[in-house]
Symmetry: C3
Subunit: 155 residues, 3 copies
């Protein structure tokens, strides 16, 4: 298994693995945040989720939407929409032999920007805080894609 | 291409490839399930999708939401939110040289838990069936992330 | 780093990297398209996003849904639901040593079908244009999954 060991001894790939794991864990926290808001505010999407609060017609009042729950859900979906491209493009970029310090700068900026985006979304901070977090992450992914396509486009 | 062949002869990586393919196929089935409910219940999101049922004002009654369609869509989104972290963290974990039997146990638990989650969501089964499916899958991903960061954190 | 260099000199893997980067960039464009529609139509989901248009009660009229914005968002979510399986299954398929010309045909068909799907969704074109784009992409991913599981199932 020489090939495999080499992969995990590569500086860029190991850094990519660490930053990706961190940002995916952050994204997973959005699920528990949604669940937390749903429980404390008693706002549910499924009748079976609030069955312990009552029966029949009593339950209907818990099946509603709530501004705070919807806010967390939008932040979660925005994470998905931006972390999936980072995952794919970042993996391929890491394997394309980039300069280590440039690559690690990209990963750090992305992870920092997405954490800032979530904080700005949930606080909520006034704009353009959230927009800034979004566009830095977006720009980092775009920059890695540009570097990939410039060096190794094969169609 | 020695490196490539080695990858696909690695026991953990081949198991990861099989389980990932299965769970992604399961997720893809959610699209056709949604389409099936939309067709049989005549519930559409786009005017062009129900154009064969009528014209102009006649169409509006088909552009609505339906509890069963929304339920499948929530199950699908929950899949996306949980399978994306498994995909990223699981891939990196598979490449980090884990003990094969531990790794394969992780993959089996995740795939089983997510299939159970979908069944509990669509039936629907009373809680905490769906919560159980969710948290086992969540815990498996978390455990792989912990193992990755403990052994190879590089920031 | 022999293993790494070999990966990026492999014809199939390099092609997968190029097509994946292109389709992920296309998906990222959906975010800016949504933002564009939100700004030009003044339709927002968060109070802080339209704070510059007024204060207090004045803002409420901007917090609404709009058919065109919802259409772009549905196209974006459909992208996510289909590109994530392509990313996972396509990566594993690329590493499983497929015939290069077959593999590249798969990637081309998928990318073409998804671009066509987006055009059909946003225009909108009458059905079955969008369905055609969807099912070609779906079939390509399914075909790669079948090839993977047939050759290397390991459970």
């Amino acid at each position: 298994m020489v090939g495999l060991n080499q992969l995990m001894e590569d500086e860029v790939f190991t850094a990519f693995a660490s930053y990706t794991t961190i940002i995916l864990l952050k994204m997973m926290l959005m699920s528990t945040t949604t669940a937390f808001y749903r429980m404390t505010r008693k706002v549910f999407a499924n009748p079976e989720d609030c069955a312990s609060y009552g029966k029949g017609e009593d339950i209907k009042k818990y099946l509603r939407t709530d501004d705070n729950v919807e806010r967390v859900r939008r932040a979660h979906l925005n994470d998905l929409e931006n972390i999936v491209p980072f995952l794919g493009i970042g993996l391929l970029y890491s394997l394309s032999g980039p300069d280590p310090s440039t690559a690690i700068l990209h990963f750090r900026l992305f992870v920092g920007a997405r954490i800032y985006h979530t904080m700005a979304y949930l606080a909520p901070l006034p704009q353009p805080n959230r927009a800034l977090g979004f566009f830095i992450g977006y720009g980092v992914t775009f920059s890695m894609a540009y570097s990939l396509l410039k060096n190794r486009l094969y169609l």
